[in-house]
């Protein structure tokens, strides 16, 4: 579980995150949603310690996330997996080497043990015949799978995904969403996902936080979000014709 208490972050005196408090539950897919520029990525980077917060505190399982406490932070980092928007795979390494990388850095396993573990997670994310290929030689969907495999290879307690299905076709996007959901349940981890894709919200949104200009204005589940009366949320949710038709059909029924 991750608890965020009143965190704020500014750039050049402009508040990008404004007094946000939230709880991200264990074993659930927690979604941070909002329009582009609403502060989703900045909030995630604050949670990961990639950006320093101006105010507030972040607690991982009740322990304060303090960048200056080297031993605590080093221990915690090994429990965090991250899937970046652009996958962030290392160009100079093959798919297998990318997945083995966290093991090589943080485990004392032998080469064969590391390869076996890497192959285990490669199978888990349904990747085939790509072990020796480089990231530039595989498709966007495959790169996301590799990124997920690399994120879970150390059995993390926390999984962060920044726009995990951006740039993917709708079918692949749903497959990736479902994979993340399955892994969350299977590994019983706290998953935090940034997205502005309503399909993802409906598919995997166990808990949703809605951001507008850096402020949390709503929190709920993927069924509650369809029924809210909040105009800003409705503008976001029903911005697509498909969802408008769904809403209309629901009313008729």
């Amino acid at each position: 579980m991750i608890t965020v208490n009143n965190i704020s972050k500014s750039f050049d005196n402009i508040k990008i995150i404004n007094d946000v408090s939230a709880v991200f539950d264990k074993g659930k897919t927690n979604l941070i949603i909002g329009q582009s520029g609403s502060g989703k990525t900045v909030l995630m980077k604050c949670l990961l310690g990639l950006l320093d917060i101006d105010h507030g505190e972040i607690l991982y399982n009740g322990k304060k996330f303090d960048k200056d406490n080297i031993s605590t932070i080093s221990h915690l980092r090994k429990q965090i997996g991250m899937v970046f928007q652009g996958s962030a795979l290392f160009d100079s390494m093959s798919v297998l080497e990318n997945i083995i990388f966290p093991l090589r850095m943080f485990s004392d396993n032998t080469d064969s043990e590391m390869i076996n573990r890497a192959k285990e997670v490669i199978n888990r994310v349904d990747l085939k015949d790509v072990d020796n290929k480089f990231p530039s030689e595989i498709s966007g969907g495959m790169r996301k799978r590799v990124a997920i495999a690399r994120a879970i290879v150390l059995n993390p307690k926390y999984l962060f995904c920044d726009e995990p299905n951006s740039g993917l076709d709708p079918k692949t996007a749903i497959i990736i969403d479902k994979l993340i959901k399955e892994i969350t349940i299977e590994y019983d981890i706290t998953t935090v996902i940034n997205t502005h894709d309503m399909n993802s919200v409906m598919e995997i949104g166990d808990k949703i936080i809605f951001l507008v200009e850096g402020k949390k204005i709503w929190e709920g589940t993927n069924t509650e979000i369809l029924d809210t009366d909040d105009q800003m949320i409705n503008d976001f949710v029903y911005s697509s014709e498909l969802f408008k038709k769904v809403k209309l059909a629901q009313k008729k029924n």
Partner: protein, 245 residues
């Protein structure tokens, strides 16, 4: 004020580079990779440039001293002094600022743009140490390149002056042995080591702290070359004043 901000951040980067070391088994591979990219990959251009520059120095010296009263070994002597004291360490370092410096800035910059550095940090890896330390260590072999440049520069001078008829082989060889001072070699390698550190760290700084996309990677490489070569020239002046003046 911005200048001092960059100076401060550069020295902090160096401090972070030497803290929280990456696992030795990983670091070892990275160091060998950097030696291959930065040192072995530069042998060709260094050999080509040094040989031709040595030849040009010898020809220009010969043309400038056509007076028959000047000793014949002067061409060899002047070529040796110019190549060892200045052309090999300084000019080759400026060429390397373009070749190696741009490579370092663009490779680290691309990692920044594609969030690979963020990925390292999220994993709890000290990205400064992981990316910059192997470059600094591999450039400890930079004197090897400069030694090669010295040898080939003088060889180029020999070939140009002897085969173009400006000097005899005997005179040239006597010239390069004339009044040889070991301290000049100490001076040359001292500044070579200083330039090697600059070549590893200033381009790394510009790559590490760049923001933006592909266009900015190109701009960062450009700025990195300007700063690296400027710092090399300034340091060359200071070291020369301190050690030779």
């Amino acid at each position: 004020m911005k200048f001092f901000f960059h100076i401060g951040r550069y020295f902090l980067m160096i401090k972070y580079t030497f803290t929280k070391f990456t696992k030795w088994s990983v670091l070892k591979k990275l160091i060998f990779q950097e030696i291959d990219d930065l040192i072995l990959g530069s042998i060709g251009i260094v050999a080509f440039m040094s040989f031709l520059i040595g030849g040009v120095v010898a020809i220009q010296t010969a043309l400038a001293i056509e007076n028959p009263f000047l000793p014949g070994n002067l061409i060899g002597f002047a070529t040796r002094q110019s190549v060892i004291l200045e052309f090999a360490p300084t000019l080759i370092s400026i060429i390397m600022a373009g070749k190696v410096g741009s490579f370092i800035t663009s490779s680290i910059g691309t990692m920044r743009v594609t969030e690979q550095i963020d990925a390292l940090e999220v994993m709890g890896i000290n990205s400064f140490n992981y990316l910059i330390f192997p470059k600094i260590i591999s450039l400890l072999l930079y004197p090897f390149l400069i030694t090669l440049a010295m040898f080939l520069g003088i060889l180029g001078g020999y070939v140009a002056s002897v085969y173009a008829g400006f000097s005899t082989s005997f005179d040239f060889i006597q010239g390069i042995q004339l009044d040889f001072q070991v301290f000049h070699i100490v001076y040359t390698y001292s500044k070579t080591m200083l330039f090697a550190f600059v070549l590893a760290t200033i381009p790394a700084y510009h790559g590490f702290y760049m923001r933006g996309g592909a266009l900015e990677v190109g701009k960062a490489s450009n700025i990195s070359f300007v700063w690296t070569s400027s710092v090399i020239i300034i340091l060359n002046f200071i070291v020369t004043q301190l050690l030779l003046a």
